[in-house]
């Protein structure tokens, strides 16, 4: 396909220039499905709720198709060797998320809530912006190694982003977690979603420089390589920041996500298992320590251990000053009522979750309406995205690219685990959202940027090695082929 040489004759080509296929057509074919499936789902919801194909079907289908097309063309032009699965998978999740958000917009119960907004058009706008950001990343980030230059600026930016929700007048406390900021006229923003990417850049840049020191200078103790005291510095700082997030923003998920991402990247950079052990110990100590005095975390843990009790409390007038929520129990009922095959699009009652049904708890709607089969498919799609990310890290040729790719994929995996696990009652609930599925501008934008970066790295990784400059003795090495 791309024997990209400038050989003088048509009979010759240079060895080594035969590259991997670009797989762009595979991506296009998959994208057709990724657009068609949500369009059918959309029609299905309309038929189930009001017995007619929704009037917006054409514009919705064209809109999603157009966005996917633009993204595809951008990849074709600016990252021709990129991984062919990432874009279709993200498009499919984003499309399905739009359908579910539109479906929940139709709920009379949710419409009756005081702060109801018609979320689907906004989410479509966010999707357009997100794909716009994706294209911008592809155009302007010609080589991901450029990011290496911004290592310490990234650190600074990440810290600002993380501190923003705590600035008085800017931060917003929504149901106990302080992970939002209000921008007058624009709405609210979740800076943590962006901090995730910026932090990955910082960690990758920092660890690439320090990895040898962290890896080699160590003592052996009980089969583990113990780092020197002074090398413990960075992990202690990140740990401390995570703990501070936990204490001041009272969000277990964000805290766990950042610390987990750092530990993963540290392990990959140093190849020392001891960091994992340290990381686990430190996060356990931190989580238990903070939970012992932070009442918001305690409430979340109580709600996780006994959702039914929390449900009962939410229906009574309690005077303990704690906001009791029946959301988790409602989500569990939604999952259970879905059963194996689900009630079908538009036929469930996941709107009973009320607040955040289309954001933090969006998976419950999938659970009820698409059943076990649907949720397993969704989880596997997430798994595939993570797998493509890890594969990109494996294929990347530069350590910075490897670290960045594994950092982003690992964070993505942790986020999916923390959110889905929280909604399914596996771990305590946190205030994060399912990437692409959930309603929310910050999440959609940040995750499209994340996919953009992964695509950029994978393009660099899979791009055939540049052909050697045409040398004067090229004639000597030519291969003669029968014509």
């Amino acid at each position: 396909m791309s024997s990209s040489t400038n050989s003088p004759t048509h009979h010759t080509s240079t060895i080594g220039a035969i590259g991997a296929p670009s797989r762009r057509n595979t991506e296009l074919a998959l994208l057709v499905f990724a657009v068609a499936i949500p369009v059918f789902a959309y029609a299905n919801v309309g038929l189930a709720i009001s017995d007619q194909v929704p009037s917006g079907l054409l514009s919705y289908g064209l809109g999603l198709g157009l966005l996917a097309g633009v993204a595809h063309l951008a990849v074709r032009k600016f990252a021709p060797y990129a991984d062919p699965l990432l874009l279709p998978l993200a498009t499919l999740l984003n499309g399905l998320g739009l359908v579910v958000i539109w479906r929940l917009d139709q709920s009379k119960l949710l419409q009756s809530l005081p702060n109801f907004v018609t979320a689907a058009p906004r989410q479509l706008l966010y999707t357009a912006l997100g794909i716009g950001l994706f294209v911008v990343v592809l155009i302007f980030l010609k080589d991901h190694r450029v990011l290496q230059r911004y290592t310490y600026i990234s650190m600074f930016t990440a810290l600002v982003l993380l501190i923003l929700p705590l600035v008085p007048g800017l931060g917003a406390n929504i149901y106990g977690a302080k992970i939002w900021i209000n921008i007058p006229g624009l709405g609210s923003l979740q800076p943590g979603e962006f901090a995730k990417i910026v932090l990955a850049v910082f960690f990758a840049g920092y660890l690439m420089v320090k990895r040898d020191a962290l890896a080699l200078a160590s003592r052996r103790f009980m089969g583990l390589y113990l780092p020197r005291g002074r090398d413990l510095g960075p992990i202690l700082v990140v740990w401390a920041i995570s703990i501070l997030i936990l204490v001041f923003e009272t969000d277990l998920g964000t805290s766990l996500l950042f610390f987990g991402m750092f530990v993963i990247m540290l392990y990959v950079a140093t190849e020392r298992t001891s960091w994992i052990v340290f990381g686990l110990l430190m996060s356990a100590v931190g989580a238990v320590g903070v939970a012992s005095f932070e009442s918001h975390i305690q409430t979340r843990v109580q709600a996780w251990l006994n959702p039914m009790r929390e449900y009962e409390l939410s229906r009574q007038v309690t005077h303990d000053g704690i906001l009791h929520s029946d959301q988790l129990q409602q989500a569990l009922w939604a999952f259970g009522s879905g059963g194996t095959l689900g009630s079908g699009w538009g036929q469930g009652h996941s709107d009973l979750i009320r607040f955040a049904a289309n954001s933090d708890f969006v998976l419950a709607t999938f659970g009820e309406e698409l059943g076990l089969a649907g949720v397993m498919a969704i989880l596997l799609i997430y798994g595939l995205i993570v797998e493509r990310g890890v594969r990109t890290a494996l294929a990347a040729r530069d350590p910075f690219g490897k670290l960045l790719a594994i950092g982003l994929s690992g964070a993505f995996a942790l986020q999916v685990f923390v959110v889905a696990g929280g909604v399914m009652g596996l771990i305590p609930l946190t205030g994060m959202t399912m990437p692409f599925l959930a309603y929310g501008g910050s999440s959609v934008l940040a995750n499209w940027a994340l996919i953009g970066i992964l695509i950029r790295i994978s393009d660099t990784a899979r791009r055939p090695a540049p052909a050697p400059a045409s040398s004067p003795d090229a004639e000597m090495t030519q291969v003669v082929r029968p014509s």
Binding site: K108, L109, S112, I264, Y267, V268, A269, E271, M308, Y311, L332, W333, F335, G336, S337, G338, G339, T340, H349, L352, G367, G371, L372, V375, M376, L379, L380, Y382, G383, V386, E387, V390, A393, L394, P399, K402, L403, I406, S409, G410, A413, L414, V416, F417, A420, G421, M424, G425, L426
Partner: protein, 494 residues
């Protein structure tokens, strides 16, 4: 760097695997228990998502379904309506969006909503053909004319009371009325109006307790109507073998172990009276002494054969009537004339009358004749079932003879119906400390057609607080209602 990368890949795979396992646990292992959890709102939503099946009396529905009010958010689509709700409330119970369901509405909920497994085939067919799930019907044994006679009679009386009518040969419940009653339609939805109506009916706010099903759930001292059971015990135990044999009954009679005389109401010929005369005049001394002579055990045995001391399931549960054990002679004597601890539901006393009328065979009372699917196919049919034999046919004849004397020329003349043999027994039961409160007026009876069959046995109880104390006697207040109920059934047979 690739070795740790591969390990991280495995770690991420494990995260996803954990989520998959958890999801299987939730949506497969625990799916049913979560789905059917009564606190799960979906259970209620499903119950009211389709029109409920109906409860039928004589082929006509006494219930219906209407779309809920559209004002505000109501995720429950249909609500229950009732035709002549107060009259039928003791039969139907209620099915309310806000307050749940009771009695027949609750017991046959599966059929009425269409969820019952017995409707599985129908349900699957509806699902395949894309039809909405439809509820089945509950066909009751009730007789609309008898029920109307019973309810109107109680209503005219105005106090509190209950009527139960049975078909002696089968145990079918023909009438089941309680007064004061309530309209289950008034709180079938879940609006504020429904809540207000519900609140007003609670005993706290309405001392008359209109939601109490007096026919099945309230026990009263049966008073003299219990003498029928005592007479049956005397015959069955061979103490006396005919209605006209003189009994060994001194007057005045001092209860054994005490110095208290058992009194009769007024100056009536009770000394050594035959059982026929004693029942005719309702002699306390005669039946008190019979009970005392037979003893606690034999009386208890006979009472149990009539259904005392056990709950009845019609299928709506009826409270167990009481005849105590471990009583001394004087307590047994008092119990044998329906006082002391003895207490009976109206259903229980109707069962006593019905067993006598059915030649000694007590049939299990029931009110659900048939369950139907939505297209009227029978799903289940209740077959009459014999509960016990409190009397031999011969002794039953003797007791019928005695009860007919009561109606012909005794205390029960108000229940006479021309052309029909009627047997009955009045009762006026004392209650309250030192009998301070108004007594209950009882009447139990049965009708017998010329061909020897008995289509109806009935029990009526009136607790009439407004009435003059002297006026209260079973014959005066309760017998006319019993008569109207029996006439309604007999006329339908002609």
């Amino acid at each position: 760097m690739n070795k740790p990368l591969r390990r991280i890949a495995i770690f991420c795979g494990l995260l996803v695997l954990t989520l998959l396992l958890r999801d299987n646990y939730l949506q497969y292992v625990r799916a049913d228990s979560l789905k059917d959890d009564p606190k799960n709102r979906r259970v209620t939503i499903a119950r009211y998502a389709t029109p409920r099946g109906d409860i039928l009396v004589g082929g006509d529905p006494i219930t219906g379904s209407a779309e809920s009010s559209k004002s505000g958010v109501n995720d429950l689509k249909y609500k229950r309506t009732y035709k002549n709700g107060p009259m039928w409330a003791p039969v139907t119970g209620y099915a309310s969006q806000a307050f749940g369901a009771t009695q027949l509405e609750s017991i046959e909920d599966g059929i009425l909503t269409g969820d019952d497994d017995r409707l599985f085939f129908r349900k699957t067919l509806d699902m395949i053909t894309g039809k909405e799930q439809q509820g089945g019907n509950v066909v009751t044994t009730l007789n609309a004319a008898a029920q109307k006679a019973a309810f109107d009679g109680l209503k005219k009386r105005g106090g509190k009371g209950a009527v139960v009518a049975l078909e002696p040969s089968t145990g079918k419940i023909l009438a089941l009325a309680s007064y004061p009653s309530y309209d289950p339609s008034s709180f079938a939805g879940n609006t504020n109006d429904d809540a207000a109506a519900w609140k007003k009916l609670q005993k706290k706010y309405d001392p008359a307790d209109p939601m109490l099903n007096r026919a099945l759930r309230e026990t009263y001292p049966p008073g003299s109507t219990f003498k029928v059971v005592t007479a049956a015990a005397a015959l069955e135990n061979g103490k006396y073998t005919s209605a006209d044999e003189r009994t060994d009954s001194p007057l005045p009679w001092v209860m054994p172990g005490t110095t208290t005389e058992l009194k009769n109401e007024g100056n009536i010929p009770c000394e050594n009276a035959t059982m026929r005369v004693a029942l005719q005049y309702s002699c306390n001394t005669v039946f008190g002494k019979i009970g005392s002579d037979l003893g606690n055990d034999k009386m208890l045995e006979e009472a149990k054969k009539f259904g005392f001391d056990s709950e009845q399931f019609t299928p709506v549960r009826a409270t167990a009537s009481v005849f105590s054990d471990d009583m001394n002679k004087s307590q047994t004597a008092l119990s044998s004339i329906g006082q002391y601890n003895t207490a009976a539901t109206p259903l229980q006393m109707a069962m006593v009358a019905s067993a006598v009328a059915n030649d000694g065979k007590l049939m299990k009372p029931y009110m659900v004749d048939e369950l139907q699917s939505s297209n009227l196919d029978p799903v289940a049919k209740t077959e009459p079932e014999e509960l016990s034999r409190p009397l031999s046919p011969k002794n039953a004849q003797i007791l019928q003879d005695m009860m007919q004397t009561v109606v012909e020329k005794g205390t029960g003349t108000n229940a006479r119906i021309s052309g029909v043999e009627v047997g009955g027994k009045t009762g006026t039961a004392q209650h309250g400390v030192e009998n301070s409160e108004n007594p209950y007026a009882w009447f139990i009876s049965y009708a017998k057609l010329p061909d020897g069959s008995s289509p109806v046995a009935v029990a009526v109880v009136i607790e009439d607080e407004g009435a003059n104390r002297d006026d209260i006697s079973g014959g005066g207040l309760a017998a006319p209602i019993a008569k109207n109920v029996m006439e309604a059934v007999v006329n339908a047979k002609k």
